[in-house]
Subunit: 356 residues, 2 copies
Amino acid sequence: MGPGPGNPYPEVIAAFGRPVLGHLDPEFIALLDETNDRLREVFRTANPLTFPVSATGSAGMEATFVNVLGPGDVVVVGVNGVFGERMCDVATRCGAEVVRVEADWGQPLEPGSLLGAHPSPKVIAVVHAETSTGVRNDIEPIGAGKGTALFLVDCVTSLGGIPLEIDAWGVDLAYSGTQKCLGVPPGLAPVTVSPAAVDAFVERSPSWYLDFSMIADYVTGGGVRAYHHTAPISMVYALHAGLGVLLDEGLEQVQERHRRCGERLQEGLVKRGFELFAHEDHRLPELTSVYVPKDRLPDGLGEADVRNRLLGGYGIEIGGGLGPVSGEIWRIGCMGHTARERNVTLLLGALDEILR
Amino acid sequence: MGPGPGNPYPEVIAAFGRPVLGHLDPEFIALLDETNDRLREVFRTANPLTFPVSATGSAGMEATFVNVLGPGDVVVVGVNGVFGERMCDVATRCGAEVVRVEADWGQPLEPGSLLGAHPSPKVIAVVHAETSTGVRNDIEPIGAGKGTALFLVDCVTSLGGIPLEIDAWGVDLAYSGTQKCLGVPPGLAPVTVSPAAVDAFVERSPSWYLDFSMIADYVTGGGVRAYHHTAPISMVYALHAGLGVLLDEGLEQVQERHRRCGERLQEGLVKRGFELFAHEDHRLPELTSVYVPKDRLPDGLGEADVRNRLLGGYGIEIGGGLGPVSGEIWRIGCMGHTARERNVTLLLGALDEILR
């Protein structure tokens, strides 16, 4: 129940047992195609260029940035947590001119401020679900008002957990991770790229490994697929299986399960006198941030000791705060297979036993 | 029996069933530390900065290049196959000045030519085992004569399969893949970096994801590890298990097994009148390249049809040629768990049944 990885679905672990085929084996290519079809369903997009980048979620961020931002290109970045900050770092390394639009940690970004920050940015980039704060940023109004800019969204902690409409909301580039609401171990970064973004690719990405133009010849080719790099076969099996579980349950049903668990957890915490950190209209159900109840810590114990007791005594991981809220908040995830109400009951019971 | 991925060891697949811990969980950190200790044993190095990059082998190439090569830096690259060419592409994207030293495909590089190609390169880069040709390049003399240059070696297809001495041979940066002679599915790129290479890191790598300075705070920290990106937990379990199997058998014993299988395969092919492609003193046991026996193809069938018959009828994958030798050679791997003499017997028997 940390900020991710969550527990994988049992079917995902079973899929790791599949024989390791070659990356050009027709049977593997068919499974990869089916995986990408499933990703399109979950992303709610028709983008042909939709596939898992062969690395973890942060590589998804880097991949989307390096393919569309070159030296001097202007990118407006929303910053209200660690992952918005990371976007600025990645964009700066591309040589892009970064226009920061900030909000306090725990508060949502103001879509109007992002839209008004620059007259003609090449890209507007926002984190949908800030894993460092538990805040949901409103992205639909940004997509509606983006004009000629490309809209780039971090969906690492939102995909599968809360409503997300890549096509209907005008998102041009999005990336996610497998280890959050998809219920798969970390290791891949699902991405989706609109045709407009494909048309705006830089001439040559600084990264060979993440060069979408080259990778597209492998993942979206017709009968013949050009070798680029060796796909991480077993992780693709795992993602394929996790998406299958999710779609069998139903995307809306899975989101409803996340919503119910988050609501139950947040109500349980408030009932116990805890103070939630994220702005109340923008709280993520899949990731709850809560102030450490310092007046209720057992004598002589710090907040990290409480987390260690949860881990050692109950087998429950929760996360601490990052950066400016280190030591100040806890981050509790209910994601993927972990998003079960019994887990909420267990955590609240464990906290009752540990805290004064 | 393609050029990789090979079959994983059964213990590796079993390890995928381990519970997915958090990347900051002390138990996971201990397992990662042990994995890196095992990598040091297999790489034959004492380098503290030895760990698996969270992506496939080609990302290992990119990672080693982007951390030491900036705009204008000179790199001498040996090119006698696809992966030497790829090094040039990656180095060019770093803005480096690339000095190419070539040999014909199927022939080894001449160490003296590499050492004499430039008076003071920052880096000399060579592929140890060229997966596209089956050729072993001699790297020991290059390390001995490198002077003040950093020596960077692609060990994707050599690590675990043939003798390799990172420290004794003066290698400063090396990367590998998990899916070849380590007997683990693709998904990680083990790397090792000498203290001299650490001292020569560029001020800021163009890649955030592959920035060794930042990753070092996670993988080589003391008690407290700084979060950089979410480690691919399950793949690390798999690598940990694969290295365990390898070291239990013994590094020399595993190399001997690869040597025996390669010899048996190459002798069996020659006995049947096939012509081997790679220079005879520089043939890899783990990857055999052989000319397609065009006069023995069944009527009306091309070389790809034969490969399809092997796959469909016998469950055996072998690889075709890449680039200039596409359609001209086959590439047959005996790597990791696949390096068993019974597999050689099976393949030779299957070829006897299919070919005229």
